[in-house]
Amino acid sequence: MADILHRPRLSRRGFLRGVLGGAAVSIALPWLETLAGKQALAQGSFPTRFGLFFWGNGMRPDAWVPTGEGSGDAWQLSELLQPLAPVKDRISVVSGTALKVPNSIPHHAGTAGVLTGMPLWVKSHEDQTMNGPTIDQAIAAEIGGETRFRSLEVALYPNRHIISFNGPDNANPPETSPAALFERLFGPEFRAPGEESAVDPKLALRRSVLDAVAGDIDRFQRGLSVADRARLDQHLTGVRELERRIQRLEADPPQLDACSRPVAPDSEFEYVDGRPPLPEKSRVMTDLAVMALACDQSRVFSYQVNSPVQNLLLAGSDQGFHNLTHDEPEPQPQVRRIVTEIMAQYAYMVQRLSEVEEGDGSLLDHMALLATSDISYGRIHSLDEFPIVIAGSANGRLKTGVHYRSPFAENTSKVMLTLQRACGLNAGSWGAEGGYVEDGLGAIEA
């Protein structure tokens, strides 16, 4: 169990030590912000970032919903949200909203409903997909263009049900290996601020190869169906993005105070006796994701703890998590413990983000980090009383330290629309059919 409740607030040096896995390394930190970085950063303002923290199999509303409403001391954290006590003033809890999409396929309809605002596309009883982009990709389409990675997808122990989609059948597979995530973010191509820059001539050659591939895609897709042309368009998008990414490597890295090259993780956190070491892996993957944001490698990420329906056998449980949500007798102490543990991982992420100094504030102040799941009450696959926690004020656009309880089961899509607007999107609406909304949730807007 993560000892988040008793973790002292870490200094930036402490933070780096954490990332470095306790290795005794001395780091010369560039204490003064140089103004040679990205324009937005150089102007002393910081771009708004978005994160999605997602777990599968829901919670228990009776142990989830905080008592009291409003801000400050007017409300108290619930049992399952206890790990968030050290950061209570940095988060908002929205309770009482509901997904208004058909609950066609338990679990998966909820994932689609909360993340796309649309009904799940049910092709057959065993094949379903999203009808549109998930919220992380809707936001990345607007704010992801300036960084090396348009978005990052990280998952701990997912099954095939992953959560980030650009559109139907068009998923963004997450990185699940700490070593691979490290290599992708901080491998040989990465240059930390101040590191020697010698532009490799091979970078330009790689771009010319990609340009040729783009031409191939254009010719290849002629005469194909609309659906197949869309698939090839996605290929083309990826190729063009990679060209831009290489171009960025040819330029100097942004000068960011909190950014430094971490050391590679030394474990893949494989299962031990059939059980995944989830908290341990989560902390390492969180550290890498947070440093990726601190280095402005990406401004959007999704972080998936587990998958809907997935039956992970977690520490201290006598059945898989999904089985427990359905079969564990009341009052379901194991389910409560697991959800609390997951929220402890969320709290760890919030805390880490709050420790990255940016200007007068922290990275957390410049982002919105949504935590949600595929369902609320697991035992009956409920889509009412949907779990929503938001951390960070998105550059002052969101209230924090608030519990808002919807008095009449408002559409959860309203929260999603508010988050997009808080991230700078000029979004007029979100979702489709029952999930369609044009209004955000004013109660959490600053």
């Binding site: 609950n103 009883h125 050659l205 005469g223």
Partner: protein, 546 residues
């Protein structure tokens, strides 16, 4: 004929809402029609993306086994449980494009390193001139793109390679960029098989010779075509009945067919999941990381023996008392261990109750929970994967919990009694649990047992009204069910066309199934019937749309 079809449709029936109480079989009608001349309306063909295995195997086939191919640049997608179908809808994410780029340079670097370059260059490494570059692109491009490159395509890639060679001052180093362009092209990563007007009947479209080379090679070998097959395509042999049969026979007799054809079964039965079998070792003391892969190897060995070695009645997959075990599985099954490392044939004793695929760890462990069995998952697998029926998911808003074992309800049968009597659950759970409870004599890993929480297990039940005493008896009923043969034929169709059959295509699937049954359920016969049928050779017209 029409009446027969109606009956057939009822057999492969969709159990909508689980309301069907009983399914009655019609007597078979003979002689079965030839699938090659069956009525068939082709659909627009899918454009599959190479699966991870096809990508890696193609690199090995073209450049040699000693090339290290980076693992799965992009995850495969399943549809209807099959990667072969999911390949037709899957896209490439930005991360996938990035991984394929990295893989391309890793491969190109190895192909052209100082040790290997002589093997792959059409000229001396010291004399890489323009004609050598063009020849290199043309030779390897033909294998990778599964067709000859046009002169323009050769020139474009040779230009890239030459320019890179000049920048780097290293002509062979420049070729790496040309090869990387071949490897990242959609012409390699996607299979563009769209057909052409059939010269004998221009109202229909057939797959071209090169497209047939690709289709045959991926179906039978799961890899890019070899030079012999591309030569046959160039000679126009693969659009003729005789040429197609001859090449299919040549390939089926080749050892590579074992890997390719067995993939059909791996995907149909979901055997890939055995590589990540997740069980509580405190509950299942026989569990270890070797069990899943060993179980997968057992199932594959049984099928290989049935299909390739003996060309026997495929229903033996369900009913055989023979299987193949290594030491791990022998201990788990309680049979004598092989004298040597590896797998050996054993006869399971009749009193073991263990018989055919449904007695294997593959089935029993995959369709269980991490700490317990599941009658529902096991029954659902039999209905859906072996009999091709549909069991809908549970309705939402329903408490699906199973009570904990107690003094009065000890066995799983007693604990799920509510599911089998409550009208809201009964419709579907009768379908799944009545079958699944037969396997309660095997625990969640597949070890035989006689009691559950100390109480004796009752494995009796019925399959759509036909009584059975235990899993052994159930195996006979499943093997005798016409739905089983139909289901095998349907999976061959789905795998081989890369599409899920629509209702109007069921005619052809049923024709294949009828011949399969009349032919003694020989799998090779079914596969050849499929290859020579219009389903494998004809393409529907593509509507380009707006």
């Amino acid at each position: 004929m029409f009446r027969l079809l109606l009956a057939a449709t009822a057999l492969g029936a969709v159990l909508v809402g689980c309301a069907a109480d009983e399914i009655t079989a019609e007597p078979p009608v003979e002689p079965p029609a030839d699938p090659a001349t069956a009525e068939f309306e082709p659909r627009p063909p899918p454009i599959p993306r190479l699966t991870g295995a096809q990508y890696a195997r193609s690199i090995s086939a073209v450049f040699g086994d000693d090339i290290v191919v980076p693992p799965s640049p992009e995850p495969d997608v399943r549809e209807g449980g099959l990667l072969a179908v999911g390949a037709g809808v899957s896209t490439l994410s930005p991360r996938g494009v990035e991984n394929f780029e990295r893989a391309a340079y890793a491969i190109a670097g190895q192909v052209l390193d100082t040790e290997r370059r002589a093997r792959h260059l059409p000229c001396d490494a010291a004399e890489v001139d323009r004609s050598c570059v063009e020849a290199f692109v043309a030779i390897h491009g033909r294998r990778l793109w599964r067709r000859p490159l046009t002169p323009d395509e050769v020139v474009a890639i040779a230009d890239l390679a030459n320019a890179a060679g000049e920048t780097l001052g290293d002509a062979v180093g420049g070729l790496e960029f040309g090869l990387a362009a071949l490897l990242q092209s959609p012409n390699f990563l996607f299979r563009r098989e769209v057909g052409e007007p059939d010269p004998e009947d221009t109202s229909r479209r057939r797959f071209t010779d090169y497209e047939m080379a690709s289709r045959l090679s991926f179906l039978l070998w799961n890899v890019t075509p070899d030079d012999a097959l591309l030569d046959a395509a160039e000679a126009g042999e693969l659009t003729t009945d005789a040429g197609l049969r001859a090449h299919a026979e040549r390939m089926y007799a080749d050892p590579r067919a074992r890997e390719g054809v067995l993939r059909i079964f791996v995907e149909w039965l979901g055997l890939d999941d055995l590589d990540a079998l997740n069980k509580d070792t405190a509950v299942f003391t026989a569990m270890s990381p070797e069990v899943g892969p060993a179980a997968r190897a057992e199932t594959i060995a049984v099928i290989e023996d049935l299909v390739f070695t003996r060309d026997a009645d495929f229903r033996g997959f369900i009913t055989a008392r023979e299987t193949f075990v290594d030491r791990k599985l022998a201990a788990l099954y309680g049979v004598r261990a092989p004298a040597r490392d590896g797998f050996a044939r054993v006869e399971l004793p009749p009193e073991s109750g263990r018989r055919g695929f449904l007695g294997q760890v593959s089935f029993l462990a995959l369709n269980s929970h991490p700490t317990s069995t599941s009658a529902t998952l096991r029954g659902k697998f039999v209905r859906e994967k072996l009999l091709c029926q549909i069991v809908p998911p549970p309705p939402s808003g329903v408490d699906t919990s199973i009570p904990e074992p107690s003094g009065t309800t000890r066995t799983l049968r007693e604990r799920v009694a509510e599911h089998l009597t409550n009208p809201a659950c009964k419709g579907c759970h009768v379908l799944t649990d009545n079958i699944g409870l037969a396997f309660e004599t095997f625990d969640g890993l597949g070890v035989a047992r006689t009691t559950d929480n100390g109480a004796p297990i009752d494995p009796t039940g019925d399959l759509d009204g036909l009584r059975f005493a235990d899993a052994d008896g159930l195996a006979d009923l499943i093997a005798a069910d016409p739905g089983f043969g139909f289901c095998v034929a349907r999976h061959v169709f789905r795998y081989g066309t890369g599409t899920l059959d629509e209702s109007d295509q069921e005619t052809l699937v049923q024709t294949l199934a009828d011949r399969f049954a009349a032919d003694g359920h020989r799998f090779g016969g079914l596969l050849f019937d499929f290859i020579l049928s219009p389903a494998f050779r004809e393409a529907g017209a593509i509507e380009e749309g707006a």
